[in-house]
Subunit: 458 residues, 2 copies
């Protein structure tokens, strides 16, 4: 019955597979379930779990090998996991925490109520793991200390390659992924690394001091931000980066898989911020959460629009006489919004990309204003032509629209450039400036400019 996968192609979850599994669980056909799951990776079983009821999922998790079950739990989405683990005792949770990497262990424990957390740590059989976890809990989740794991292989510089191989053998089960061995001195200070390739090629008796590399290594301090870690690993094409304290002592390492997750989550967060969604939600979250995440900017935008309404209302009399003025309100509003987002997104992108020297604010503004000037001129000419077509022959009105639009494009470019820079200084995610915040602000500014010019010219 075992399925053969000769091409090693990835597993694809089907409805039939889920139905089979549910039926097998219902019949408690344990052996058949295990056979069916045998060829799968933990991450594949995770995607199956999500499709089951909580009871079915728990049945499955308790049935399979603890080590694999623990890995499955650590690949679950944080929200799903929090809900799921409510159905487990502290002792059951401890059994899983006992066998997974320390960084994942801390993530899981941080999602639990304090009581469960304390109980689980007390119940851990592997006391080294308990120490690792208590160590890591001090760090903020999104800094290097919070991303690192304690599992790594280190060797004293005075030792030999043979001893190093022995150390790898001893730790083989605890340290799943080994890319290189870290070389330290008697004080635990990081001196360099030896890649596994080098260990394989070195003579067994050689001294580590003779084979290790002391220049080809980059490390980070515990307080480095997640972004800094991601930038470094990406810049230097690293699969793991050691984390040291201020004295240079080796404390842990961050592996690329965690950084890839971090990069993906940050990008998703930026996109949500740009879209005016104020909480980290996904399509399959509850209706209530989805409503709540959208309301702040829905209402925020409306408040802005009512302020705009207040401005427009003051020109009642002018609009009564020349109602065509109101036809160009959308043009002013949406152009201001579009230009603002175009400008701010470029600044946000270049704030994120830290290669090269910083440009000065003044140099930046010069260029932005030049680009804005050209775009504003083109937009103004285009608007003059189009508005003549819409309201055939009202030259003064077309002039007003055209001049206003020129001013709006310039102003919106400036706002779109300055806002993310200010937010960044205030340590607020500058992507906020590419969302409804900038469109709302630019709307109000734009209408103000438009009606001022209407007032002056008409």
């Amino acid at each position: 019955m075992e399925e053969v996968n000769p091409n090693h192609l990835p597993f694809e979850l089907t409805k039939e597979f889920i139905e089979d599994i549910r039926l097998l669980i219902e019949n408690q056909a344990n052996e058949e379930i295990l056979l069916k799951l045998d060829e799968l990776f933990p991450a594949d079983i995770t995607s199956i779990l999500i499709e089951l009821t909580t009871e079915e999922a728990k049945y499955l998790v308790l049935l399979i090998d603890t080590k694999i079950a623990a890995e499955i739990i650590s690949t679950l989405d944080a929200d799903d996991r929090k809900k799921f683990l409510k159905h487990f005792t502290s002792k059951e949770i401890a059994a899983y925490i006992n066998v997974i990497d320390s960084d994942d262990a801390v993530d899981i424990l941080n999602e639990q109520p304090v009581k469960v957390r304390e109980e689980v740590i007390a119940l851990l059989k592997d006391r080294e793991q308990a120490r690792f976890i208590i160590d890591l809990m001090h760090y903020d989740e999104d800094c290097a200390g919070g991303l690192m794991q304690k599992e790594l292989i280190k060797i004293n510089i005075s030792q030999t390659v043979t001893e190093c191989v022995e150390e790898i053998r001893k730790q083989a089960e605890d340290v799943e992924k080994v890319y290189s061995v870290y070389v330290i001195d008697d004080d635990g200070k990081l001196l360099g690394t030896v890649s596994l390739k080098k260990i394989i090629l070195a003579k067994r008796g050689s001294k580590i001091a003779d084979v290790y590399e002391d220049d080809e290594i980059v490390s980070v301090q515990t307080y480095a931000s997640g972004e800094e870690v991601a930038d470094l690993m990406q810049k230097y094409d690293l699969e793991a980066i050691p984390v040291v304290n201020i004295q240079g002592r080796l404390l842990g390492r961050i592996t690329i898989d965690d950084v890839v997750d971090f990069i993906t989550e940050s990008a998703q967060e930026d996109i949500q911020v740009m879209a005016g969604i104020s909480e980290d939600v996904e399509e399959d979250d509850s209706v209530w959460l989805l409503v709540r995440s959208r309301l702040p900017w829905l209402i925020g935008g409306m408040v802005g629009s009512f302020l705009a309404a207040k401005i427009i209302d003051r020109f009642d009399d002018t609009i009564s006489v020349l109602p065509a003025i109101s036809a160009f309100i959308p043009l002013i509003g949406s152009t201001g919004g579009n230009v603002g987002i175009q400008s701010s997104s470029l600044i946000v992108q270049s704030l994120a990309d830290k290669s090269g020297l910083d440009t000065t604010l003044w140099k930046r503004l010069q260029k932005v204003l030049l680009v804005a000037l050209i775009n504003a001129l083109i937009a103004a000419i285009f608007a003059f032509g189009c508005s003549l077509l819409v309201d055939s022959g009202q030259i003064m009105l077309s002039m007003t629209v055209s001049i206003s639009l020129f001013a709006v494009v310039m102003l919106a470019s400036l706002m779109g450039t300055i806002t993310p820079l200010v937010l960044n200084q205030l340590k607020i995610n500058p992507a906020v400036a590419s969302g409804p915040f900038i469109t709302t602000t630019n709307d109000i500014l734009g209408y103000g400019v438009y009606f001022m010019i209407v007032y002056l010219l008409l």
Copy 2:
């Protein structure tokens, strides 16, 4: 004079460093330059190059070791590199292409004019590299075939660990990063892998057949998309993934550093699309490119607004009598836009996240409509209150605004949900639906609805 970096902290580029280097280049103080660059990684030297003039940069590149120079060139930004390599002869380029990974070599060659490309390939000393490159040039840049490199270590299943170590030694220079050795049969079919850790721990005489893992491996076909590759490597926490043809023959491998670059670029592309920027630009691109990348959506949005103006113009008479109607045009427009982007960005996100089974369109719409209904009700009530405040006591007008807003939120949610799904079906990046496209469409729809309700009620 050599700088010591005891903590192995990352290099930070300063103005002073650049000035020093420029002075040294001017004085042709070659030895001092080499000493100054000695401790740096290629990626650090790349960030220095960007700050120099083309002549200075070329002087530096020709001065340093070919292997390092080649790595520097391969970490340059595509645009910068294209401009830079124009100043090199085909022979000089060939010397660099000769020593870098085949995937990077192909990327660089694809940026060159056909003539240079052909010359460089003909001039390559390493004929295996030439074969690799010609092989890889067949594939589209963004699919697995285009992302893979030919450099990898493979071993026949009938061989021993000792022979495997010999193979690693032979290839040590060509294959920079080795994570595991690929096990193949006599036809070159991929059977499994052996991790370096396992090779270190295995007895030297053991047969590969006894130590390799045949189940813990995932591969992709050459035609898999970059997104699929990224998803798989992220899901299974892989640092390299083998690429096979349809018969399962091992053709190459994709390493995580290339996938991290791919992920970052895709995220950046999505953000640019959302911001209405139509080309891949950065802040330091030329003014002309910056102008050009913004114009399509600047003009596109304006065309939409002029269509809206045409609609509003038809209600001239009504607006003359009750100019307050026009004060709520911004409310209708910006709420429609905001809701549209909120809805579409969630769908885009869940289209990108392929874990779990697909939901049906109908299930999706049910939920979206429920969320929209609640938000629309809240927005309508809020708008009723606020519009009463703005235009004190005009209950009929407030009713009109409130009902219109309800309709606009519902309609915009629906549009925001359906548009990315349709674009996705048409193989267009669904993120387009989270940009000016959706705001413009929703604007026009919204004004249509608003003035229809004005017409019916007032």
